[in-house]
């Protein structure tokens, strides 16, 4: 089955991307998951993977070119498969990369475009004003399903999509937009600011609430003497800097937290499926403030990593955070937020 690869959309704000480099050449046989090319968006770089096995038959975007999301990049197909129809389609829609495949009436159900979306998912995506083209479909033949759209929209979309069928869900949008609107307001009186919540803000809000309701809350505060730690920090900082590595207190706290969690299995025990699960290895999320919301990249296997590695990975994660919104890597145990820059004395956030 020939697949047309398009400029993906990493994160809701991405409009265009630059094809930094091709890692596969025309005629190369590739397997699902192989990296085909690197795509740069402002300050970050992402790898585009082959969605399935096949041969990279045609490269449609030269290296260095900047194209809008959804623009054709390449054709992946069987070695002898006829891709002429696909290439004709591409040249036909080259000027209008935003055309919605599969929405036309009559013939051509969009199945030849390489992007599949079910009719009902398409309706939902249009209702929610979601650009679905970069959403990975989990349906039959890789089709984007309503579930995929809902997952992308952070789950809240379902209430609106089924408003004629499930009246019990109708109240939900009001519930969520009320408090969120109030929280965003600057004036002391309650007011709605009129702006729709962006998808990422919806997800942030939902995840914070899930985290809150999913854990038993308690707060412990204690003083610790970190004189020696501060000394070590001061010694290490220039040493790391000589290697081009920025040592931050966040990294130090990550390391300390990883050590603590390793030594005390009780703290890293969660309830999952009604059973106690002592998690391992130690993965910790780091809250990163980005222009349009909050993202929490997860650093993996911290117990096994030296401080230098943690510093490097932390820097990379923060750098990437502006563009990546990875739904698969959710912190399930611990997240760290550093708000020292805000000059607050106590920051209390149970989530």
């Amino acid at each position: 089955m020939a697949v047309l690869l398009r400029m993906p959309r990493y994160g809701a704000n991405m409009e265009e991307g630059t094809l930094a480099s091709w890692l596969a050449a025309e005629g190369d046989a590739v397997s699902a998951g192989d990296v085909l090319c690197e795509i740069e968006i402002e300050k970050l770089s992402n790898e585009l993977e082959a969605p399935e096995d096949g041969v990279l038959r045609a490269i449609l975007c030269p290296q260095g070119e900047t194209l809008p999301c959804g623009a054709p990049l390449a054709v992946l197909a069987g070695a002898d498969e006829d891709i002429s129809a696909l290439l004709t389609d591409v040249s036909a829609d080259a000027d209008v990369p935003d055309e919605v495949p599969g929405s036309g009436s009559g013939s051509g159900s969009g199945s030849g475009s390489g992007l599949r979306i079910t009719p009902k998912a398409l309706v939902l995506a249009e209702e929610l004003n979601i650009d679905y083209r970069s959403i990975a479909g989990t349906g039959i033949l890789g089709a984007i399903t309503r579930e995929d759209i809902r997952a992308w929209a952070g789950g809240k979309a379902s209430a609106k999509a089924v408003n004629t069928k499930k009246p019990d869900e109708l109240s939900k949008p009001a519930e969520t937009s009320g408090p969120a609107g109030a929280a965003n307001a600057v004036k002391p009186s309650e007011s709605r600011n009129g702006a729709r919540m962006s998808t990422i803000r919806k997800v942030t809000a939902r995840r914070m609430m899930e985290s809150l309701s999913g854990s038993a809350q308690s707060t412990i505060m204690m003083d610790a003497d970190i004189t020696d730690l501060v000394k070590a920090y001061k010694v290490l900082k220039p040493v790391f800097a000589a290697d081009g590595i920025k040592l931050s207190w966040t990294a130090v706290i990550l390391k300390a937290a990883a050590e603590t969690l390793t030594r005390h299995p009780g703290i890293r025990t969660i309830i999952e499926g009604g059973e106690l699960l002592t998690t391992y290895p130690i993965d910790i999320g780091v809250a990163v403030d980005v222009d349009y919301g909050l993202v929490v990249p997860v650093l993996r296997k911290l117990d096994a990593k030296p401080l230098k590695t943690i510093c490097r990975e932390l820097a990379a994660a923060i750098d990437r955070a502006g563009g990546i919104w990875d739904r698969k890597n959710l912190p399930r145990l611990l997240s760290i937020a550093s708000i020292g820059y805000a000059e607050c004395e106590v920051f209390h956030s149970d989530p």
Partner: protein, 325 residues
């Protein structure tokens, strides 16, 4: 090596080769031995294996009862029902014995019978010799219902059916007997539970069996001129059904038309439509359509017989209606 054989001759060859291949295979039925069968399908077998070809009394119940008993004792009978309509006479043997034995004996006994049944309308044989009996049997788990459409399928699927350890009802459409097609000389098997995608297309999936495939292909050619791509699927085995092939096709096209000989009510089109609607409703772009015979008995009058059965125009109309939905 392949050469052209008729559907009837392909079945005959499969029977000869399986008689040769396995001494536990034997044939029985009304006039199947000396005469070689009412439609000539069993010709030549009695001459070669007089002990393994039995003419029976005019009793379908005895034919299938004898088959079930001998199968449980280790033989592989291939029984012929001269007209599938008379499955009613041996229904108890098929439904309450053949289909259940493997389960009742906890898998220790099995009932490897093949019931060749001549089905369908179109030769002016009137009420009792023209029915499409698929749904009468599809509701009986334990029976395998096979419906080959081409000489190639008829030979390969009959060999698979004879070698299968479960009871198989092997439907032969009387209007297809003279249909010619490429058939390899050597014995070969065709997987029983695998649908065949006969034609690729992106816009409509047509599911059809046996004679109805002709209508589907004719309609597909016509629709091609209108820019509509039709994918044609022949389930080949109606129970157990290869759901996956159908589902993947309809998930792609979003439109399903089932073309079925036989009354609309409770036909296999109803089952396939319900299955698709249940499993992948989200993918549908239009309502599922069935093109079937009318809900009346097949009449003796040639004009009425033709009137009752679906035509290519009916298929075209159904396809256009799902495209313009």
């Amino acid at each position: 090596m392949a050469r052209k054989l008729s559907y009837a001759k392909a079945i005959n060859e499969a029977l000869h080769q399986e008689m040769e291949h396995d001494p536990s295979v034997f044939i029985l039925g009304e006039d199947v031995a000396r005469m070689g069968g009412d439609f000539g399908i069993t010709q030549g077998i009695w001459h070669k294996w007089p002990d393994r070809a039995r003419d029976t009394a005019l009793s379908e119940s005895a034919i299938i009862g004898l088959s079930v008993g001998s199968a449980v004792c280790g033989l592989r009978p291939v029984a012929e029902l001269m007209f599938a309509d008379f499955v009613t006479v041996c229904y108890d043997q098929l439904v309450n014995n053949a289909a259940k034995i493997h389960f009742m004996y906890g898998g220790e006994a099995s009932c490897p019978i093949v019931v060749r049944a001549v089905t369908g309308s179109g030769i002016r044989c009137a009420y009792h010799h023209s029915q499409s009996i698929e749904p009468w049997l599809m509701n009986i788990p334990g029976l395998i219902i096979v419906a080959p459409a081409t000489p190639y399928e008829a030979k390969g699927m009959l060999i698979s059916a004879i070698r299968n350890n479960d009871p198989v009802v092997f439907l032969e459409h009387k209007l297809l007997y003279n249909r010619k097609g490429e058939v390899p000389v050597e014995p070969y098997e065709i997987e029983l539970f695998k649908a065949e995608i006969e034609r690729k297309g992106d816009d409509i999936t047509i599911v059809a069996t046996m004679r109805m495939l002709d209508l589907a292909h004719a309609a597909a050619k016509e629709l091609e001129n209108e820019g509509v791509g039709v994918e044609i699927i022949d389930p080949r085995t109606l129970f157990p059904l290869d759901k996956r092939t159908i589902i993947e096709s309809v998930a792609k096209t979003g439109r399903l038309v089932v073309v079925q000989e036989g009354p609309k009510v409770m036909g296999f089109g109803a089952e396939i439509g319900a299955m698709v609607s249940e499993e992948i409703f989200e993918y549908l772009r239009a309502p599922i359509k069935r093109v079937t015979s009318l809900d009346v008995p097949i009449a003796f009058s040639p004009e009425l017989e033709d009137y009752v059965n679906p035509t290519m125009d009916h298929v075209l109309a159904a396809c256009r209606s799902v495209m313009s939905f």
